[in-house]
Amino acid sequence: MTTSQGQLFSDPSANRARDQFRAKSKALVDKVSPVPDAVARLVHDGDYLAVGGFGGARLPTAVVHEIVRQKKQNLRFAGHTATHDFQILCAGNLTGRGQLLAKVENAYSVGLEARGLSPHARRVIESGAVECTEWSNYALAVRFKAAAMGLPFLPSRSMLGTDTFRQSAAKTIACPFTGETLSALPALYPDVAAIHVHEADRFGNCRIRGTTVADLDLARAALRLIITCERLIPTEEIRSDPTRTVIPFFCVDAVCEVPFGSYPGNMPYEYFSDEAHLKQWLHVQQDLDSFKAFLEKYLFGVRDFHEYLQLCGGLPRLQELRRQELLLHLGK
């Protein structure tokens, strides 16, 4: 029987979450908001934060940038399929702006997949100043699912027998029916989550195209939820085809329209990832001073996401990424 030694960074109590969900307004009200206002209102120092998408795909970049820009402190973070999102947040550590990340539940974070490891994310974690626990991607997805179901935990058959389990805060239990050993994974109710979607109406009814990763559960697990969308659409369109609504309005606290909002990440059917920008992003991190200069220019020196996009090449660059996404160069 494996035992774990990691600390739990959030309260898995379903009863506590029920009280918070009960207090939330379910009224059909206009939630459209600029990103800075949404982040100022909904993300607080010390919060547990989770970010949707899959690392460099369908990423709510504008919200993640804004969290760093507003110098939020001592956040806890779910490192679930996290790549560029996590690495942007790391820009709030060891860059003279206090400590943005305090605790990380890591399943995947420091890497940018095939593109390599992030030197600054390594610096931040290897410093020992951020408290970590280990999980697997599915384990964190199950923890969101448990929360979305309104439960304090769910069992699974992963992580058993490994150091990943030992450094997690999971426990083993015996199945009450078969006696088999299972991992008991505590529900994860983030204080706040940010998810980027294709389309939303002003109340927060959302449509996603392509893979949903863990976002449908994450949207239901989060106590507060910020949605960024490529396009705002009329509510009549949502109501003309409700089968396409995958996140309902009553989960959502703010809706921010951010065209090209996943940049430099991929947005399925819209635009591909900007590999040149991501390469530069990893490269400048090798040296802390050049990384600080990069952040000054691209993150702190810009007023909003639109200015950032302009700086990265603006519409011509985005048109090129749209052609790449649609495989027009292959003649398809």
Binding site: G111, R122, A141, M159, T181, T211, P268
Partner: protein, 256 residues
């Protein structure tokens, strides 16, 4: 026709994948192997990506396990839990994994280098979906370069389960019976696992490679399965498909 070690590894990996079976892959060499298999002996191989891509008709090599190529003309674009639970239900025949370190029982480390977890020498990405896939899929395949630093006696961190401490250990830990490591394909050899001891053993040496070379590049004692085979080099057809259709920009096969 001449070939490089990466082309040989991908061809070996592709030959292991059977028609009508399922495989969960990541990006890189495993994805190239699955694409090659589909274009040779296994046209009905079903490819899954952990972010939710199911049965894509891959137009080019994906860069991310979650990018839109992973469900291009796919049968379904779903959630990570759906893919992982397909594995947990026993529907996934193969998965391909890698790591910074592998031991004699096929356990993998992709979390930290250095033995102090709280202050590691090198922080690596972590499990990602590897621990889940290795827990659930029937047969685990590993494609990796072969050297002493990688083939270690003791892992700094056991991220992803192989046979853990040996026979019966997976089942004792609660992992589904009958699952586990199956083959390791390196630039020197194809290795499998002894039926009883569950330790790694050489099945086939690549052309021109000696058993001594394998042993010199492995930190643990590695057995061998008699009669020792010599790996069949990639065929002209395999190389043509690999170079012209699967990886025309040489993203993967150019890495040697």
């Amino acid at each position: 026709m001449s070939y490089n070690p990466m082309e040989l590894m991908i061809a070996c990996a592709a030959r292991l994948l059977e028609d009508g079976k399922t495989v969960a892959v990541g990006t890189g060499a495993p994805c190239a192997a699955a694409m090659l298999a589909q274009r040779t002996a296994a046209p009905n191989l079903v490819i899954f990506f952990e972010a939710g891509g199911v049965a894509p008709q891959l137009p080019t090599m994906p860069i991310s396990v979650g990018d839109s190529r992973t469900f291009y003309k796919g049968a379904m674009a779903t959630s990570m839990a759906d893919v992982m639970e397909t594995c947990q239900r026993g529907l996934m025949d193969y998965t391909f994994l890698g790591g910074a370190q592998i031991d004699a029982y096929g356990n993998l480390n992709s979390t930290v280098i250095g033995t102090d977890y709280k202050k590691p020498k090198v922080r690596l990405p972590g499990s990602g979906g590897a621990n889940d896939l290795a827990s659930f899929c029937w047969r685990i395949l590993v494609v990796t370069s072969h050297d002493k630093r990688r083939f270690v006696d003791k892992l700094d961190f056991l991220t992803t389960p192989g046979y853990l401490t040996g026979p019966g250990a997976r089942e004792a830990a609660g992992l589904p019976p009958g699952t586990g490591p199956y083959r390791v394909i390196t630039d020197l050899a194809i290795l499998g696992y002894h039926d009883e001891t569950k330790r790694m053993e050489v099945i086939s040496l690549h052309p021109g490679v000696t058993l001594d070379q394998v042993r010199q590049n492995t930190s643990f004692e590695v057995g061998l399965r008699e009669p020792l085979q010599i790996t069949k080099p990639p065929t002209e057809q395999e190389l043509k498909i690999l170079r012209e259709e699967v990886d025309p920009h040489r993203y993967i096969i150019g890495r040697c």
